[in-house]
Symmetry: C2
Subunit: 147 residues, 2 copies
């Protein structure tokens, strides 16, 4: 059994605390280039593949459509992305990077790398790989059978 009466002893609790620290660290660095924590994820997806629909973006980000809509509106307000009607489906919009949005890739990656360096200092490549594998398994466990 994995039952515990103290939430603070659970592995999920440790996970949540680490994640908060990570997001906070990334957020601080992103703030210097005018982004809020979470916004860079939209850019990450668009750097990989441009002209995504709002719902595709929401799916890849793992957020609900209304969340994606508002993030896109704000990123559009900052001039990082543009929305264009989909010629094949009048319901959809295609979200594309602007030159300004594309140009942020390097600095955002630098922010993430900096946090990565700090977070995993003193942790071997071996341990990191094992960790990533474990995290993948956990994520699969959590995401199967819902959403």
């Amino acid at each position: 059994m994995r039952q515990t009466s103290d939430i603070r002893e659970m592995t999920g609790y440790a996970l949540a605390k680490v994640c908060k620290a990570h997001r906070s660290s990334v957020g601080e660095l992103l703030g210097r280039i005018g982004l809020h924590a979470g916004q860079e994820m939209v850019l990450v997806e668009l750097w990989r593949q441009d002209r995504l629909r709002v719902c595709e973006l929401a799916g890849r980000l793992g957020v609900e459509p209304p969340t994606a809509t508002r993030m896109i509106q704000r990123l559009e307000g900052c001039g990082l992305v543009v929305r264009q009607r989909d010629p094949d489906d009048a319901r959809s919009f295609r979200v594309s990077l602007t030159e300004k949005g594309r140009s942020l890739e390097e600095s955002v990656t630098r922010c993430w790398n900096e946090v990565e360096e700090k977070a995993f200092a003193g942790i071997s490549q071996e341990e990191c790989r094992g960790l990533r594998d474990l995290l993948t398994r956990i994520r699969n466990n959590l995401e199967t059978g819902m959403g």
Copy 2:
């Protein structure tokens, strides 16, 4: 070097995704007992030690004081906690659990245990312990030298 040009390959990225899934899973179960994700953390701290000041609570939760203030206001609105002036310091409030707040411990713990079971299915006690150790080291890395 740990440098990568693709954020999606970073361990921190895997961490963030797992954490989102975890919070989402916990949040779904908490919703059934009338709580939002994150609110249970306030209760966790108060179950451990009651009559904490707002700033102590913020410190233990790892959030800023204004965030703690509003969470407490809402929990007070739900009748789960009460604020009482600190007799020794007129600036401070002491936050205490109500009977209703105290009574939630069992069901909140059940929610977390349920997610724990699901998240770590097929993962040994050994692996879990190693994971917790690693997460502790990462958290220490991230939290030293800031906030």
